[in-house]
Amino acid sequence: MLKIFRDLLRFNLEFAIGTLIVSIIVGLSVLSFFSPYPPEDIYVVAPDVPPSWEYWLGTTSRGQDVFWQMTAALRNTLLFGIAVAAISRVISLTIGLVSGYMGGMTDRVLMSINDTFIIIPLFPILVLFYFVMRDSMSWALLALIMAALGWAYDARLIRSVAMSLRTREFTSQCIFSGMSPRQIMTREHLPYVLPIVFSTTLNNMNWSIGMEVTLSVLGFTDINTPTIGSMLYWANQHTALVAGVWWWIAWPVIAVMLLFIGLYLLATALNEYIDPRSRLSRMGGAT
């Protein structure tokens, strides 16, 4: 495992750059724990100060230090992405493994449902969800609904791997030795699909973080939890661009763009490592 990681770092430029970027972002989000004041507090420093020695990245019109605000926002945004990815992996894995292992009618039914979730435009549904929840909307609830909606693409990928496992000899050996389908799936097949699960995790994080930013900027989430999206929301509320407080917008946008690129590079490198032929995963515009 460690050796694979080292080889990838040395011989795969995409992986190296991706690792570097993601480490920087993770490092920044860890720094949030050392913030001199809670990130939710406002008017703790002088407002609208441009980047300077005292405030490296400037301060917001709400009297927050952009740097510390951003570390907290990155942390919450990352956690959000991880939470959505973790929950939706459970669904993707279950559907993908069962569909790929069982085949036949089960597979057809599950994949029809799966494709349905790929086709349905999710944004209006998320907006509707916010619309009925309004003030009860929370960070955790959003993560939950996004996980419930955003598993289908990866379930399809996992299914295709599981399907190829089904025809391998060791699977029939397991069947002859009397293992139940559930045992085969969880003990024998799961380890094989884990690498692809890992790379889909990264792509799924990109998707959910992008969606979170979008929803927050429009004010369709709990905007009092600092995330990259809510940071931009407040900047827009204070018309930061018109007022010339560009640093309030520029830094979080740059940070989150770097995060997208970093995660994407990691996922691409991993995909290539797992299967040089499957560079086409996540094709199209599934952002």
């Binding site: 057809r108 029809s112 449902i113 494709d115 349905t116 979730f117 790929i118 086709i119 349905i120 435009p121 999710l122 944004f123 209006p124 549904i125 907006v127 509707l128 969800f129 916010y130 619309f131 009925v132 929840m133 309004r134 009860s136 990109n206 998707w207 973080i209 992008g210 969606m211 930013v213 979008t214 900027v217 429009l218 369709f220 931009l232 661009l241 917008i249 946008v253 989150v256 763009m257 997208f260 690129i261 995660l263 994407y264 590079l265 691409t268 032929r277 560079r279 086409l280 094709m283 199209g284 515009g285 599934a286 952002t287």
Partner: protein, 334 residues
């Protein structure tokens, strides 16, 4: 012929399934959540002043009626579906008494126009360039494009649209950044109006194309670099078949088949992107309508837009599916 009929039946079934699950999802979200949209609306409407309890009670009654929330759950469910089947979502609250369907019909052409042009452009261009990049792996220019595509592809629509807005709205203000056409330009079939519409659609379309292009480019490049190792391409090359013929009829042509499937599969995501982009540029389509409806607390409108979006996207997917056999003679009969 028979296989096509089976294929047709399957695709139609999938279409019905998407609409069924999608609409049920909206039903569950709007009816089965602990939050009552009627109460939501009332609190939104009454938050600005004192309203007598009797007035609130009448309001509650009529809202229940309006939102299809009176009667037993079964009645509610049936009335929910019947509204969708006839396309009648009642009057809009924020633009009372204009029917929701009329508002949607007014906005839909903008969205469809923007979406179709941008998607077709991104798809064609991305596949052409990506295919070339996969075939001519050593070309510097195409390699550079690949790097740009890798940077752009992971960006969500909102971020790209926002960055373009900042660049062309604040740093280098040369393009209109808001609205669907110039203020004061009379509607109709005039040069002024059409050029104004085109000019206003430039930035929204550009952001959609920029995001989509990267994805199609990378997808096609990967597909092509796999297809060139397929036996039939290797064999054609060994047989000295004309290089251009190999590129067009063996490599690109065959790679387009999965890209069409990919297009059908990502229409939902592209649609999401379009309505987000519209909101950023204040483009008068479904997206702006949706966001305004949320801010105005217009439940019928939000519900109407959600339902119409689901049906519209599944219809578009169905159309692509039905045309697919023209591209691939091996219609799947599993």
């Amino acid at each position: 012929m028979k296989t096509y009929a089976i294929y047709l039946a399957k695709r139609l079934l999938q279409f019905v399934l998407v609409v069924f699950i999608g609409i049920n999802l909206t039903y569950v979200i709007s009816h089965a959540t602990p939050i009552d949209p009627v109460e939501q609306t009332i609190s939104a409407l009454t938050s600005f002043g004192n309203t007598s309890p009797e007035a609130i009670e009448t309001m509650r009654e009529s809202l229940r009626e309006l939102y299809g929330m009176s009667g037993t759950p079964l009645e509610q469910y049936v009335s929910f579906w019947s509204r969708i089947v006839v396309g009648d979502f009642g009057p809009s609250l924020s633009a009372f008494p204009t029917p929701v369907s009329e508002l949607i019909l007014r906005a839909l052409p903008w969205t469809i126009g923007l979406l179709v042009v941008a998607t077709v452009l991104a798809w064609l261009l991305g596949n052409l360039l990506g295919g070339l990049a996969g075939y001519y792996r050593k070309n510097r220019l195409l390699k550079a494009m690949g790097l740009i595509a890798m940077g752009l592809h992971p960006m969500p629509y909102y971020v790209v649209a926002f960055v373009l807005l900042v660049v062309f709205g604040f740093l280098w203000p040369v393009l209109p950044i808001s609205g669907g056409s110039g203020i004061g330009v009379g509607r109709g079939f005039s040069f002024d109006f059409i050029s104004s519409v085109l000019l206003h659609s430039l930035l929204p379309a550009l952001s959609l194309v920029v995001v989509g292009l990267g994805g199609w480019f990378l997808g096609m490049r990967a597909l092509v670099s796999n297809i060139v190792t397929e036996d039939y391409v290797v064999y054609a090359e060994l047989g000295g078949v004309d290089r251009r013929r190999i590129l067009t009829s063996y490599v690109m042509r065959n790679a387009l088949v999965p890209q069409v499937t990919g297009l059908a599969m990502s229409l939902g995501a592209i649609f999401t992107g379009a309505i987000i982009t519209e909101e950023v540029f204040g483009y008068p389509g479904i997206g702006s309508l949706l966001v305004d409806a949320v801010h105005a607390g217009d439940y019928s409108l939000v519900l109407g837009i959600t339902s119409v979006s689901i049906v519209a996207v599944s219809l578009a997917v169905l159309v692509i599916d039905l045309l697919y056999p023209l591209l691939d003679p091996r219609v799947q009969v599993e």
